[in-house]
């Protein structure tokens, strides 16, 4: 019984009792002593217990699965636990440890004799060399060629010299145009004032040259240059869906449905708002693109399906140094 009482008393003392640390009168303190601040001390203790409480709440929320707003509760409990701990530490730093503002010399600016000694050690060490320049040059050659050898395997990453794939396309004469699910597009499916995405039948949809946008325009709207004047079929035009600026998909069609029906219908890329005119062969109306959209020639077969009459008039995708040097290759 007495032992229990002793324990209780010592626990109470631990919780509430205060004791000044022993001061050594016989030596000079390095950190100067300061006055007591029992209020701040108490606040620190409360904050630390709050930290523990919030941390426990985090574990509880995690363990109690299927709480609504679990992410919010987890974030709030863990965040508040950290913030309480932060507050306790900042309180200690600002109010409880003695704040000293002391002075110190900046490090010496330089060590001239040491610098001299280093240079001398290096210079003196080479006394046995008589053909220094040749030795240096040999090291240069060895280092350069060995370095080249070591970075050679990096060439395996990709075909650095082969730019042929940039001219390749997935279209050729006769390929049917299909939708995302593989269903062939009929000319009759294509209506005005909206746009459709099409792919070459049987080809990889993700390859950049595959996707095209289909748009139907009133026949008298077309102002196509001679070379591509026969690319539309029954007023339907197909353009590469990949923007010639930076390679995003052109997924906006600006087509005013009511008066005033200006500005003209245009294909727009949402990344940097390059704007292309579908009536003139995909020329740039606005935005940063430096090249017109590649146009795909079309025809309608006897059953009414849309088919490619060849491949694009220009390479697909963002420009590179060779983009204007050659025509794209049919599949």
């Amino acid at each position: 019984m007495a032992r229990v009482k002793d324990l209780l008393v010592s626990a109470a003392l631990l919780a509430a009792g205060r004791r000044r640390p022993k001061l050594h009168a016989d030596r000079e303190p390095i950190v100067p002593p300061g006055e007591e601040r029992p209020g701040s001390e108490l606040a620190v203790i409360v904050l630390l217990f709050a930290t523990a409480l919030f941390a426990a709440a985090f574990i509880a929320v995690y363990a109690l699965d299927r709480l609504p707003n679990q992410t919010q509760l987890l974030g709030a409990s863990l965040g508040l636990a950290f913030l309480c701990l932060a507050a306790a530490l900042i309180l200690i730093g600002k109010r409880l440890v003695v704040t000293e503002e002391i002075e110190e010399d900046y490090p010496v600016v330089e060590h001239e004799s040491e610098q001299e000694a280093i240079a001398q050690v290096v210079a003196d060490s080479g006394s046995r060399f008589t053909r220094r320049r040749l030795v240096k040059a040999s090291f240069g050659v060895a280092g350069g060629v060995l370095g080249a050898a070591l970075i050679t395997p990096a060439a395996s990453l990709g075909p650095f010299l082969d730019v042929e794939p940039f001219y390749a396309t997935t279209w050729k004469r006769g390929r049917r145009l299909v939708d995302e699910k593989g269903k062939p597009w009929r000319a009759d499916d294509i209506e005005q004032s909206t746009f459709y995405t099409a792919f070459p039948e049987g080809a990889d949809k993700e390859a950049l040259p595959s996707s095209v946008v289909l748009v139907r325009l009133p026949p008298h709207d077309f102002k196509l240059p001679k070379a591509i004047a026969n690319y539309p079929a029954q007023g339907i035009v197909a353009y590469s869906k990949i923007c010639t600026h930076a390679g995003c998909a052109i997924s906006l069609y600006r087509a005013p449905l009511f008066q005033p029906d200006e500005p003209r219908p245009a294909l727009v890329c949402p990344c940097h708002y390059s704007t292309f005119d579908p009536a003139t062969g995909g020329t740039v109306l606005f935005g940063p693109a430096g090249r017109k959209l590649p146009m795909l020639p079309l025809y309608v077969d006897r059953k009414g399906y849309l088919r490619a009459a060849g491949t694009y008039d220009e390479p697909v995708g963002p420009s590179w140094w060779g983009v204007r040097m050659r025509k794209p290759k049919p599949a």
Binding site: T71, I90, L208, P270, G287, S319, G322, R324
Partner: protein, 456 residues
């Protein structure tokens, strides 16, 4: 107890003198000196949360069909990479909290680096003997931008893919080698080989974090070797005398407190403020994109630059010398970073100042530096704001086209005006200082005289 531990360690390492010196290492006290610390703590949170995410992320690009609990995506085809991040966000307990905290930490990391850089620039803290520290810091900023870009590209949601497509377009636009470099990095034309994702993954979770850690160590080591710069707050601070709070006991609890505060705020953000809800964007396909997409804030200046350049490729006789995205995606950040790297050398060349500096300047004390710095900040900020012109169009119905034309003029006029204003402001502030001093002294004397009268 402490004595025993110290003796044990000293007898085995002999580091007692070093530790003693370190405990009394001085930190000059100013709020702006904490910005770099915030970046450091955000980095620690990034490594911790990122390690957790890496335990669940898969870098596979094989097509799979989603059968998880998130109904809108059920039955959709996607890559393993995207599915694994959807799973982290939906089925892994606490996964969404950690993912969002990681994303917020990345945004805060870059933000605090940029603010830290501004403080360093406008107070002349980069001057001799601290140029190396400055250049290493700039390198960390560049690497951090790349790290953030790879981080959100790895997810393979729709926005990731759009970002990668733009990165590919910018790589292609590099004069003479564009397609070669792109083919080398991606393994062929976009979207490239499967290995590309493995490459992004290892660079994002290992190579760059390790590089940042090494650079950080060098950065902090250099700071410690030359000690921190200080403001001239009183007569005590000089070029030779440092005034500050010792690491222990004064600074340690404050810095630790700041660390936990940063962690706390980041976890609160991660839990309470949604960021990049990738399940809404859906998987990426080369043939899809969405309107209203904005990148993380620290890439906003590049989007703005890409959008502002007028329509042209520089072509010489059929050879495309400079494709359009080069200007905004490479040349613009290239100019900004070249300026930042060369600035300490340019300033020294012009001023002929080769002295050692430990006392910082206030912006007004170096009007030319402040003016040029303000002009640069204005330039980058205007381009950054131009990147949001489409949102302004939607929110306030101001024509996008008209805005872009306005910005095309404004980004050149604005910096000049801002620079001139900043210069004048510095001069006026300098002129005002003696007046201010006199007034304060007069007031002080009047007060003292009044007190004497009262006593009498």
């Amino acid at each position: 107890m402490i004595r025993k531990l110290v003796r044990f360690l000293d007898q085995r390492t002999g580091t007692a003198p070093l530790v003693r010196k370190t405990l009394r290492y001085l930190f000059p006290d100013h709020w702006s000196f904490l910005l770099g610390e915030v970046a450091l703590y955000a980095f620690i949170v990034l490594v911790a949360t990122g390690t957790y995410l890496a335990l669940f992320y898969q870098d596979g690009t094989a097509t799979v069909t989603y059968h998880g609990p998130y109904l809108p995506l059920r039955g959709q085809e996607m890559t393993e990479a995207y599915r694994s991040v959807v799973n982290i966000s939906t089925t892994v307990k606490a996964g969404l909290l950690i993912r969002q905290t990681h994303h917020w930490a990345a945004d805060v990391f870059v933000a605090s680096i940029v603010l830290h850089l501004l403080r360093i620039f406008f107070t002349g803290a980069y001057r001799k003997p601290r140029e190396l520290t400055y250049w290493i810091g700039l390198t960390i900023l560049i690497v951090a931008l790349l790290e953030g870009y790879l981080g959100y590209s790895m997810v393979d949601d729709l926005l990731s893919g759009m970002g990668l497509a733009i990165g590919y377009g910018v790589a292609l636009s590099i004069p003479f080698f564009g397609s070669n470099i792109a083919a080398w990095i991606w393994g062929g034309p976009f979207p490239g080989q499967h290995e590309f994702f493995a490459r992004m993954y290892i660079v994002h979770v290992f190579l760059i974090p390790a590089l940042i850690a090494v650079l950080l160590a060098a950065h902090l080591g250099l700071v410690a070797m030359r000690h921190h710069t200080q403001f001239k707050a009183s007569r005590r601070e000089t070029e030779r005398k440092l005034v500050g709070v010792p690491m222990f006991p004064g600074q340690a609890p404050r810095s630790l407190g700041l660390f936990f505060a940063v962690a706390g705020v980041l976890f609160l953000l991660g839990g309470l403020v949604q960021i990049n809800p990738i399940w809404l964007w859906g998987p990426f396909h080369t043939y899809s994109s969405t309107n209203g997409a904005q990148p993380d804030w620290y890439l906003g200046w590049l989007i703005g630059a890409l959008r502002l350049v007028p329509s042209f490729d520089l072509v010489i006789d059929g050879y495309t010398l400079v494709p359009n995205p080069f200007w905004g995606g490479v040349a613009f950040p290239g100019v900004v970073f070249t300026f930042l790297f060369l600035w300490p050398l340019m300033e020294r060349k012009v001023t002929g100042d080769t002295a050692f500096h430990n006392v910082l300047q206030r912006p007004r004390e170096a009007p030319w530096r402040t003016a040029i710095g303000v002009a640069m900040v204005t330039w980058v900020t205007l381009v950054f704001i131009a990147g949001g012109a489409d949102r302004i169009d939607v929110l306030f119905d101001i024509s996008y086209t008209a805005q872009i034309w306005a910005y095309r003029v404004l980004i050149w006029v604005g910096p000049v005006i801002a620079g001139v204003v900043a210069y004048r402001a510095c001069i006026e502030l300098q002129r005002g200082e003696p007046v201010e001093h006199d007034r304060e002294r007069a007031e002080h004397e009047a007060k003292a005289a009044a007190t004497v009268q009262d006593v009498a």
